[in-house]
Symmetry: C2
Subunit: 335 residues, 2 copies
């Protein structure tokens, strides 16, 4: 079996360019014990991937130079040497940026395409959904009537964070780029207000949209927007640090939040989260999310781009704020 | 009664210079109901005073232009219109930078000069002690065997933070400036190790002194040292933001912590504290501290400078790192 693959060719300085990738076609090895051959159908594109391309200590090992780029994905099992997985099963796992994968069944989960479209298991029912769920509920601890602000609000995590905060009875304000996304957050997802950071001064927007200040800020972007929100937080506010996409391609130092002493003035807290810490509670969360979806309280939105070979360009959409909902790559198997 | 006073003449830009102060001699008014006339004996000089000189929203109102500079102090009651206070009583309160004060008895507490020297009620038995106590215990939550790092370690708050962390069974590392302070922390206060930021690279020092990483960081200084510590924190570390003395006289923006994404990588927390929130528990804390002092587990150190008129210069010692222990101004009444 041949597999088209994107391998990491070099570590990026700033934005990952084409030279970072080597596009190869490899003959996959035969299966060893407890492995499966998977036909990859959808590949998850996530801001965190930029971090995995860097050298050095983080919450997960960097991708080695020459290795297939790490990515979550969903696909169909074609062959299996593990009695728990059979041909025809659909699975979620770290399948990598390739169209076929031979991988260990450890860490592989079955998903049911009759319950939800496959790509949804990369979004609201997958890692972004889990990130949002545990981040906003456990770390953000929103209380009824409080004001919750989320940046990257039209992204995979942000859309879910905002909707969960609405379910919890909060006033929810999203920060997103462009009128289409902003309109969608209000009209479709029921956000109370939005700030279009591409067309409005964020500080002024926060003043307008958060007349009672900010109790919880769920940060996906970092940079100036984090600093702006820090000027508006309330006593005992909680800031959830989920990501900082505005800073991931910096060639200079990350911009630290100049206004961090607002934490002192307001006895507020800033706390980092990584979804993997909640793995033993994923099941319970997924069940709750599925219930909310069934009740019409939680809507999913995926942004599907087709074609494995578009990977380098499609990945960059994340850093340009061009994705609208969860960005997934649909693998084309007919080329 | 005449009172020598330092009044705030203008808001400083950067370091407070002599022009910020107006030294006047005022005739104090007679007492209204529930007021006392206090002979001020010791005035507390604290980094927070720099913040009170600025315009704008903070955890406490700024000092108005033309007002007597706010300061904690201890003194002796000379006259009283409140039956709860009598001439001869010693009191702690916000007495201001002056040698006699007429003030309301609200917020005034009696102190006992037979139990401890008066100046100690401005240090370990006063606000800095309370700040250290609640900050390290409630927010830092140190556990036995963990590594606790404190900056400004030879200051009023830092000395107490480190000693309490030792009492709780932690490995305690202080960051202070100069060999005398560092030696004192080791020899007299029982710190496990020290980093002399004036003579050693802090990052290298942290690597040397914290082989198992940093579980709790109590930050009094901000700036580069906060950034250095962020590179060494452990999983679920707690960073207590008590102050940022390195940044208080900035004329440009405060340096935000560039390495704040270490909070994400390590699922760590950064939280601001203000001592006043614990006012209802001061009594319990003071009792515990007094017990530790009696048991020889907690030592106090005050740095006493004499002469009200030295106030503008003496205050600056804080920002130059020249104080060694709690800085207090002893008021001279015989001029």
């Amino acid at each position: 079996m041949q597999s088209r693959q994107f391998r990491l060719a070099k570590r990026p300085v700033g934005e990952p360019d084409q030279q970072c990738w080597e596009r190869v076609t490899e003959t996959l090895p035969g299966l060893e014990a407890n492995q499966v051959l998977v036909k990859v159908k959808y590949i998850s594109l996530d801001p965190a991937m930029r971090g995995w391309m860097n050298e050095g200590k983080s919450y997960i090992e960097p991708v080695a130079i020459g290795a297939v780029m790490r990515a979550g994905g969903v696909g169909e099992v074609l062959e299996s040497t593990d009695p728990n997985f059979a041909a025809g099963d659909h699975v979620y796992g770290t399948l990598g940026v390739q169209d076929y994968a031979v991988i260990s069944t450890q860490g592989l989960h079955k998903v049911d395409p009759s319950l939800a479209p496959l790509e949804r298991y990369l979004g609201v029912l997958g890692m972004p959904g889990m990130t949002a769920y545990f981040g906003i509920l456990d770390t953000g601890q929103p209380k009824e009537g409080e004001t919750v602000v989320v940046s990257g609000a039209a992204g995979a995590v942000g859309t879910v964070v905002g909707q969960i905060a609405k379910i919890k009875g909060c006033r929810v304000v999203g920060i997103a780029g462009g009128p289409d996304k902003c309109q969608y957050l209000i009209d479709e997802l029921g956000f109370d207000d939005v700030i279009d950071y591409k067309n409005e001064d964020v500080k002024a927007g926060l003043k307008r949209a958060c007349p009672n200040g900010v109790d919880v800020y769920f940060d996906n972007v970092g940079g100036d927007i984090l600093d702006d929100v820090l000027t508006r937080i309330n006593f005992k506010a909680r800031i959830v640090i989920c990501g900082a996409i505005s800073q991931y391609n910096n060639t200079t130092a990350v911009k630290g939040p100049s206004n961090y002493l607002s934490l002192l003035v307001n006895r507020a807290r800033m706390e980092g989260i990584v979804v993997f810490d909640n793995v033993k509670n994923y099941g319970k969360a997924a069940q709750q999310m599925a219930t909310w979806i069934a009740e019409g309280k939680l809507k999913a939105k995926e942004h599907v781009v087709e074609g494995l070979d578009t990977f380098p360009d499609t990945l960059m959409m994340l850093f340009r704020g061009e994705n609208f909902g969860k960005l997934v790559l649909k693998v084309d198997h007919d080329q």
